[in-house]
Amino acid sequence: MHQIILSIGFGIVTASILSMGAVGFTLQFGVTNLFNLAFGDVMTIAAFVAYVVHNDAGASIWLALAAGGAAGMLSSVLIARLIYLPFMQRGTSQFAMVMVTVAVSIVFNNVLQIFSGTGFYGYALLPQASVHILGMVFTPRELVIIALAVVCMAGLHLLFKYTRIGKAMRATSDDASLARTCGIPTNRVTNFAWLASGLLCGLAGVALAMDLGTFSATTGGSFLLVIVAAAVFGSVGEPYGAMVGALVIGVASELAAVISPDLKDVVAFGLLVVVLLVRPEGLRSGRVQIRGEVTR
């Protein structure tokens, strides 16, 4: 029993990192209709920016985390404006756009490797004493990561529910042309979506690198699958679903490890298959409308 409670705690930490990544990923898809497989590489860029800020410039890890978030925002907007949007404006098909994102991912990955080499990097962090909460064990840094994820999720909820831009994002996600007809500046909304998802992507990248201990040019890309799984679990394009997906996959995989570590991925992806069998559009199906048109 003690082991199960411990594993729930470990699962919450994993779910916190996953939730930032999965919600960022799904937010991009919800508003822009783009299944962006270069998402993991932006996470890696953010992790490297935080490394420079923390290890080289000597700033605190939390300032480095903020810098990583900013790098995620900037990278996402630049990639969208300079690469994705020109393709989308030409009416490139969804499948072709996925291939464009794969190409961008490969280019980014290799450019990162040129600059970083094939070695591993890690933030210079001192070991911390563990904190025991309800039988679960955390470090103060993990508690901050959990709190950060909660703040991000709550912030998104407030954004969608109570702000004009949030409501405009939901409207654009449901039907971009109707939203435009109603006077919503969809261009600005899309830019904001890239910024918000880029922020979450950057924060997830730095948090992941902190949690792993070390990272390399391929780290973000190698964890993209589980992020996509959490997003698909909760219906792609549906931020609340992605939050639930991250929590279920994060906790279930740690609980499975109590029985056997080999079952981690089996349980996580097995659950995904079961959910998709029962509800083909994911946990919160019926909430998302895939747009056939692209905003300028």
Partner: protein
């Protein structure tokens, strides 16, 4: 009209396919025969060592290390007149560490590399899929894979520069029990390269009176190993023994340090001496903890003497890193290229099918055989009509009858001064018995 046009198109396509097929077959045969034709012409040209490894992706460090080792060796060979006047060049072929990608890349190497005389690689991920192609093309290859499936292979083109994992298991079991760690937990990742060590290790360890408290098998490259770490700590071992890839080891050990407040003594296989492991783990838990808690048991490839000096000098000239200088796998690969070149000199031929028969001849000790430590010494001795045994930067190669290097094993500790592993003692031959 339409039918005839379709027939014409089909015919054109058929001709194109046949032409393409012919071109591929011709190119393939040219790849292996060009070195022989070059000899017949009596001219000098550039020979190619095909470095077949991952240069991109998670295991890209395999590629960069093999490339640097090859370039350093080629630099030495070329500075000493080349191989019978022919210069050696290292060509890069990126398998991306993926067996599916490795096959077309290998085919491209075999058909496009001019005067391909040797293959440096492949690594453990790719070797099952590409080895048949290399053997079919009859090009000698050198690898550092530990997979015991190749322990009794009989191909003359397969040359393993490091010992098999089947000798590693007993060695690590012997060292663990000899160090009085009599209650341990083993922690191996679930991949084939780690799992091949598990049973030989447990057998030897139990034979020596050791008690295995629990075992943790981990899937590589997960976001977290906290549950596995909690399970390990719960079994209260004196030490842990195992093998993990760099990223997994870094995450696992940093989480162990965090949960337990400190690391446990960790006896790790030769995976720890592979490129990438130390940089990842020292970043995660700090060099002081690596030095205090982690011990590697790996083949003894102690660098010393003129061979090692020349290796260091030339590796630096091609931009080798300080990590590579102390890495035994890189040194063994450098020696592999030098020894293949000496085999060509001994055979008076750069033709792969001919010189392959001389690789053992230039790397085996014996009565009246002159030990040489550099390429220049080897060439001079051969010209003087002597038999040679090349003992290079990583020591004697000692190939057994299955073309696997039967080097002894040693215990390695991390040296902060050297920023790498240093040998603290060589294990006796009894340690390697199952």
């Amino acid at each position: 009209m339409r039918a005839s046009r379709l027939r014409a198109r089909a015919l054109t396509s058929g001709v194109a396919v046949v032409a393409l097929g012919t071109a591929v077959v011709t190119a393939a045969s040219q790849g292996t025969a060009s070195a022989a034709r070059l000899e017949a012409r009596g001219g000098h040209a550039t020979l190619t060592a095909g470095v077949l490894h991952a240069f991109t992706g998670q295991t890209a460090f395999f590629g960069t290390n093999a490339e640097d080792a090859c370039r350093a060796a080629a630099r030495v060979i070329n500075a000493n007149g080349g191989i019978m006047g022919d210069k050696l060049n290292c060509g890069i072929f990126d398998t991306k560490g993926d067996p599916a990608d490795a096959v077309p890349v290998t085919r491209r190497m075999l058909t496009s590399a001019s005067n391909l005389v040797m293959v440096v690689g492949p690594d453990g991920n790719d070797i099952p899929s590409v080895l048949p192609l290399i053997e079919q093309a009859k090009i000698p290859e050198m690898n550092t894979v530990g997979d015991p499936r190749y322990d009794k292979q009989t191909s003359p083109y397969f040359w393993r520069l490091t010992p098999s994992d089947s000798t590693q298991g007993p060695a690590i079991g012997w060292y663990t029990a000899s160090s009085r760690y009599m209650k341990i937990t083993d922690v191996f990742t679930s991949d084939l390269s780690a799992q091949t060590t598990v049973t030989p290790f447990r057998n030897k360890y139990r034979q020596m009176g050791g008690k295995l408290l629990s075992n943790v098998t981990m899937a590589p490259d997960q976001t977290s190993y906290q549950t596995e770490v909690a399970s390990l700590i719960g079994s209260h071992p004196q030490a842990m023994v195992g093998e993990m890839d760099p990223q997994t080891a870094a995450t696992f050990l940093s989480e162990l340090q965090q949960q337990n407040g400190k690391l446990l003594p960790f006896v790790v296989t030769q995976a720890a001496t592979q490129p990438g492991w130390l940089p990842a783990v020292t970043q995660a838990v700090g060099p002081a903890n690596v030095a205090k808690y982690i011990t590697a048991v790996a083949p003894d490839m102690t660098g010393k003497g003129i061979a090692y000096q020349q290796y260091v000098t030339n590796l630096k000239k091609v931009g080798g890193t300080s990590f590579q200088l102390g890495n035994t796998i890189v040194a063994a690969t450098y020696d592999g290229v030098i020894s293949f070149a000496l085999a060509m000199d001994e055979a008076h031929s750069t033709k792969p099918q001919t010189y392959v028969k001389y690789i053992r001849a230039v790397t085996t000790a014996g009565h009246g055989v002159k030990v040489v430590n550099t390429y220049a010494e080897g060439v001079a001795a051969l010209r003087a009509g002597k038999k040679i045994d090349y003992v290079g930067a990583a020591g004697a190669m000692n190939f057994n009858k299955y073309n696997t290097s039967a080097r002894p094993y040693a215990v390695y500790h991390y040296s902060k001064a050297a920023q790498g592993w240093v040998v603290s003692k060589v294990l006796p031959a009894t340690a390697l018995r199952p």
